[in-house]
């Protein structure tokens, strides 16, 4: 039993068909439970009032926005090194999902920032690096769409993803240099004494789990679609030849 078995599209389709309903169901359950718990059964914050509740959407989507890019980096590397098509397709499938999470994080942040900071947008390092991450996602998706040959597209986007990762990290630290922050520091670190208070922390954990599962479900679904689209193209090509 090795993970490379799933490089075989047939095996991947079988396993993911079995896995998908479970992951989707769990994602929905976690999100419903976490969001209802978070929105209706937690107290208002002492200073932030009810706006604190946006944390249940903002933090998990921001986490997944970054993790989606990391996943794309890993799958791109696997594609470049081992030439497994499923890996390249998973990378392609993850990009729009990651972009959506990035936009959700930016929008929820703006809705929270308007009453709390008094502005929808500030050129804070975290906000700026997320905006730059959005641009990287857009470029990646646009490159996939611009190139017709699927293998060339997979190769070029994988190279872009590798180089883009380095520059995204560079930009992350360059903007720290460029401006001081308004955004609060990390409040979920595992190694810190004091984090978010437990009343907010437990529903947040459920929401994070829900977002992770949602991401996995969406990526599985989209990868399956991509594999089917690829099979369809192969069938059509065969028909033309016959």
């Amino acid at each position: 039993m090795s993970i490379w078995e799933y490089a075989n599209p047939k095996k991947f389709m079988q396993t993911s068909a079995w896995l998908l309903p479970w992951v989707t169901g769990l994602a929905v359950a976690c999100l419903v439970a976490g969001l209802i718990w978070g929105f209706f059964f937690t107290p208002d914050d002492f200073r932030q009032g009810s706006t604190v509740k946006i944390i249940y959407l903002h933090v998990p989507s921001a986490m997944m926005a970054i993790n989606a890019w990391v996943m794309m980096l890993v799958t791109s590397l696997i594609w470049l090194i081992r030439r497994h098509h499923v890996s390249a397709l998973a990378s392609k499938a993850a990009a729009p999902v990651g972009l959506t999470f990035t936009v959700i994080a930016l929008l929820t942040g703006a809705f929270w920032g308007q009453p709390m900071w008094g502005t929808w947008w500030a050129w804070d390092p975290r906000l700026t690096s997320f905006l730059i991450l959005t641009l990287f996602y857009l470029g990646y998706i646009a490159l996939w769409q611009a190139i017709e040959d699927p293998d060339t597209a997979a190769d070029l986007t994988a190279v872009l993803c590798l180089v883009g990762s380095v520059f995204a990290l560079l930009s992350r630290y360059a903007v720290l240099f460029w401006n001081q922050g308004l955004h609060q520091g990390a409040s979920l670190s595992l190694d810190k004494e004091e984090n978010v208070a437990d009343v907010f922390w437990f529903p947040l954990l459920v929401c994070i789990a829900g977002f992770v599962l949602l991401f996995v479900a969406l990526v599985l679904m989209r990868t399956r679609t991509e594999i089917r689209a690829r099979r369809l193209q192969a069938l059509l090509a065969r028909e033309r030849l016959a």
Binding site: I132, F136, L143, T152, V159, S171, A174, F177
Partner: protein, 218 residues
């Protein structure tokens, strides 16, 4: 490699377009910005470092698609790829040629445009120094972007979408050097970081660009 460099330089000079256009664009940016934000000297002086850097960056972007596209169309890129020079070397030489025809002239005219934008006197040396150190990074990163879209017809817009996010660190450190220099503060730290980006990009990106070209020629 020397012959390739001379060939690229000759092509850039004689084909018209690329060489003068970037400079004209840079000049236009420096003229249009005061028209847009108003003639107050202190406002212009404060935004001059950023405007000059953004202008240089966009002027650089204009001619990027010419680095490989023409050679790809007439087939000389295939010849270069099969020639005894490694493709990484070809990329590096072409990026160098691009820098000589765009980055270097931009650096030389920048102080003149600084006068138009009322850049504080202390900033001129830093402006030239930062552009001199930073524009090679723009050319190398741009060559990488151009190598990705070499097979795409009308890839100009796509190229800017791919390349501009990659320009972010260079722009931040480059403009910061001039801003600090113009304000009379110590500008060595961003200058060193800028030089680091240029050296790192020049050392590593030709490999990525050569890989992309090989994929496109497959």
């Amino acid at each position: 490699m020397g012959a390739l460099l001379i060939r690229d330089l000759r092509l850039a000079m004689r084909a018209g377009g690329g060489f003068g256009l970037g400079l004209a664009f840079f000049l236009l940016v420096a003229v249009l910005v005061p028209l847009g934000v108003g003639p107050e000297g202190d406002v212009l002086g404060r935004i001059a470092p950023g405007i000059l850097w953004v202008g240089a960056l966009l002027a650089c972007l204009l001619s990027l698609d010419r680095i490989f596209a023409l050679d790809f169309e007439d087939g000389s890129l295939d010849l270069l790829a099969t020639s005894p020079i490694p493709l990484e070397g070809v990329v590096a030489v072409k990026a160098l040629a691009h820098w000589i025809v765009t980055g270097l002239p931009l650096t030389l005219v920048a102080p003149g445009l600084g006068v138009l934008l009322n850049l504080p006197v202390a900033g001129y040396g830093w402006l030239v120094l930062s552009l001199l150190l930073g524009t090679p990074a723009l050319s190398v990163i741009g060559a990488f972007g151009a190598s990705l879209v070499v097979g795409v017809k009308r890839g100009g817009l796509l190229l800017s979408l791919l390349v501009l996010p990659l320009y972010v660190p260079t722009l931040i450190f480059g403009a910061e050097v001039v801003k600090r220099g113009a304000a009379g503060q110590a500008a060595e730290v961003p200058l060193l970081l800028l030089a680091g980006i240029t050296l790192g990009a020049a050392a590593l990106l030709p490999f990525a660009a050569a890989a992309a070209i090989r994929i496109n020629l497959r």
